[in-house]
């Protein structure tokens, strides 16, 4: 089994990557503008519904039922898809999934495929694997086109090019056969349209992900805004869908809940412009060959973790990214994964499954635990709870001999007894002699991490308890 590509090989740890990103004022400006706008819109879109909390709870409970009975629903889905003329494949990991897809593409005797925006295929590095096999995968979502042509990495789940502004996009699009004439949004969209139209009409194979897969009917659902997905899902002869196993829903009626939760949380729309759904193959209409690749890639091992498994409820709306104060300042690439932001901080390390890896181990700490993500999550994933849970796993993986673990043990020993605690208070109050003019502006490491940018409080001579004892004791 190869390395799980859900985290990017060679990425620096979060604090290191964040340091670079924070220095990029253009990036911070782009992000602040984008996230502030969508944040406000989401709030109004959600406020329109009187039963939003009930919807969230419904979403949570449907997903929990799916996770508790995953085997049953997946087999039901497989049977329904097969019944309707589709072919179902099971992939244990990225490598297996990529091999299956490459074989299927090569069997169609083509070296170019069009793609619908999909997190699952980005997670497994499918485009790179196809390229290695001589197949050119063309992204067709506008933001994905920007990332692909810019030879860049995504920084957001929904808007992977959120870190780019119009001027940068115009420059990236200059390589198109008919490049944009200005950086006006219409000109940019027109150039992309011309570039993509040719691809849609010539492609024999399309590859998509799935937002939902309905077990009862074998229907796959893809939700999108631009219509590029609809083109891919209907024009080519062959359609290959890669779907994470947790995307299965028991019944068609369950869509009622999720098709309300998703667009409002994601793009702040009452309804997204395009919802495509298909069940197997319909003779004479749309793709005549349909393959569904069911992807595990770390999901079943995530499922085994009682606290961590709630991350699998995620419907990839990206609301948690848009409200996250950390994400807003560092951007998505600092997380070193296709899943950035709060969901990335809990999902990427779990899927990667190796907390001995420094980069993965730094992700659960990429949060101030402010809880804004939990507040907006449409399926009520308690992200702060999972973060602290994963931190405990990181601590366990690192062992007891790190400087931090030893400092924490010492602190726990001090707090374990009132007399030791009081002695430490007295010792701490000696730092007041380091103060000048009532401020403490420089401490030795690790205190310097604080005093580099902020003054430290001067610990007074008399603690509250000393005062209490003197006056009330």
């Amino acid at each position: 089994m190869g390395r799980n590509p859900v985290t990017w090989l060679g990425s620096p740890t979060f604090p290191d990557a964040a340091r670079d990103a924070l220095g990029d004022t253009q990036l911070r400006g782009n992000l602040r503008k984008a996230t502030t706008t969508i944040r406000g819109k989401r709030e109004s879109a959600v406020a329109e519904l009187g039963d939003w909390e009930e919807l969230r709870r419904a979403g949570e409970s449907v997903k929990d039922d799916v996770l508790a009975n995953l085997d049953t629903y997946l087999e039901r889905l497989e049977a329904a898809v097969t019944d309707r003329g589709g072919v179902v494949h099971w992939a244990r990991d990225a490598e297996e999934a990529n091999r299956i897809v490459l074989d299927l593409v090569q069997a169609e005797d083509t070296d170019e495929v069009v793609k619908v925006k999909s997190m699952a295929t980005a997670e497994i590095g499918l485009n790179e694997a196809l390229a290695d096999g001589g197949v050119n995968a063309i992204e067709t979502d506008l933001a994905e086109v920007i990332v692909q042509l810019g030879d860049d990495r995504p920084s957001h789940i929904l808007v992977p090019a959120i870190h780019r502004n119009r001027a940068e996009i115009k420059e990236i699009f200059a390589q198109m056969p008919e490049p944009p004439t200005s950086d006006d949004p219409h000109a940019l969209a027109e150039a992309a349209r011309k570039y993509l139209r040719r691809k849609f009409l010539s492609a024999k194979v399309a590859i998509s992900g799935a937002n939902f897969g309905v077990a009862d009917t074998g229907s796959i659902v893809v939700v999108e805004s631009e219509g590029n997905g609809r083109m891919c899902l209907t024009l080519p002869e062959t359609l290959i869908t890669v779907m994470g196993v947790e995307k299965v829903l028991p019944r068609w009626q369950d869509l009622e809940v999720f098709l309300q939760l998703l667009p409002r949380s994601s793009t702040a729309e009452r309804m997204n412009p395009y919802t495509s759904t298909w069940s197997g193959v319909t003779p004479g209409d749309g793709p005549q060959k349909f393959h569904l690749v069911l992807l595990d890639n770390g999901r079943t091992s995530t499922l085994a973790d009682e606290v961590g498994r709630q991350a699998l409820r995620c419907i990839r709306c990206s609301a948690c990214l848009n409200v996250c104060p950390v994400y807003e300042r560092t951007g998505g690439q600092a997380y070193g994964s296709v899943y950035p932001g709060p969901i990335g901080a809990i999902l990427a390390p779990q899927l990667a499954g190796d907390l001995h890896d420094e980069q993965a181990a730094s992700l659960p700490y990429a949060s101030s635990l402010c809880g804004a993500c939990y507040e907006v999550c449409p399926v009520r994933i308690n992200i702060p709870e999972v973060l602290t849970h994963l931190r405990a796993e990181v601590v366990e993986a690192k062992g007891k001999r790190t400087p931090e673990a030893m400092a924490m043990s010492a602190a726990a020993w001090v707090f374990g007894d009132r007399r030791r605690y009081e002695a430490a208070q007295k010792a701490g109050s000696l730092t007041r002699f380091l103060a000048r003019d009532g401020t403490l502006s420089s401490l030795p490491w690790p205190g310097s991490k604080w005093t580099d940018t902020r003054d430290a409080p001067v610990v007074p001579k008399e603690s509250f308890r000393a005062w209490w004892r003197r006056n009330r004791g």
Binding site: P15, A18, R19, L22, P325, V326, R329, T330, P364, Y365, A366, S367, S368, L369, C370, G371, A372, Y374, E375, T388, L390, R391, A392, V394, V395, E404, A405, M408, S409, A411, A412, V414, F415, G416, D417, R418, Y421, Q425, G428, S429, T439, P446, K449, W450, D452, T453, R454, D455, A456, P457, V459, P460, S463, F464, R465, W467, W468, R469, R472, G473
Partner: protein
Amino acid sequence: MSGPRVALFPTCLTDTVYPETAKAVVRLLERLGCDVDFPLDQTCCGQMHFNTGYAEHARPMARAYADVFDSYDHVVAPSGSCAGMVRENHPNLCAASPAATRTYELSEFLVDVLGVVDVGAHFPHRVTYHPTCHSLRMLGVGDKPLRLLRAVSGLELVALPQAEQCCGFGGTFALKNAETSTAMLADKMRCVQDTGAQVVTAGDNSCLMQIGGGLSRMRAGVRTVHLAEILASTQEEPWVATP
């Protein structure tokens, strides 16, 4: 005294670094007729350990907290994050204890348990209020602190822009991701300064340590004062700045 028997849990940070806040809580609660005790065996709720991934160290601290506070009618903490730690996480760390469910953040205790909004305070300054994340999202204190502040005579309350954004403290986050924490702090300070307030207040000294540390470094001339100290301040016994 005949009022409710209240144990004070000032938190280890306030006990050690901000004793004036704890004294203010005592003054305030006694003025409102409570019988206040400070059990000396208390130390720390274990929040730093728990949030950093050392739940095993936090477990005995949670147990000790229950032993110290179980016999009181109420426990009051001038800290949203420590009260949140006790109420939300202690029951998962040790057997459910009466102390955990009877622990209140100060503004909750005043408004919900004592049923007062006007605590008879006087504080003639221009003040802005930062709602700390844990008081807001973990405890759900809502507008209770603002209602208390609005009833303070002489106080001019100015709204803080983007109030609900985190100040960037986050416990050990402030050290582990110091640069990101500082970037969050910078935006918070800008919002505070935009209000023209003389004082920024909050219900948690840890967040005030972050905001105040930044403001002091840039010599902004804005002070941080804990909510308890504002509510304890009266015409007769006005708040005085500690050096």
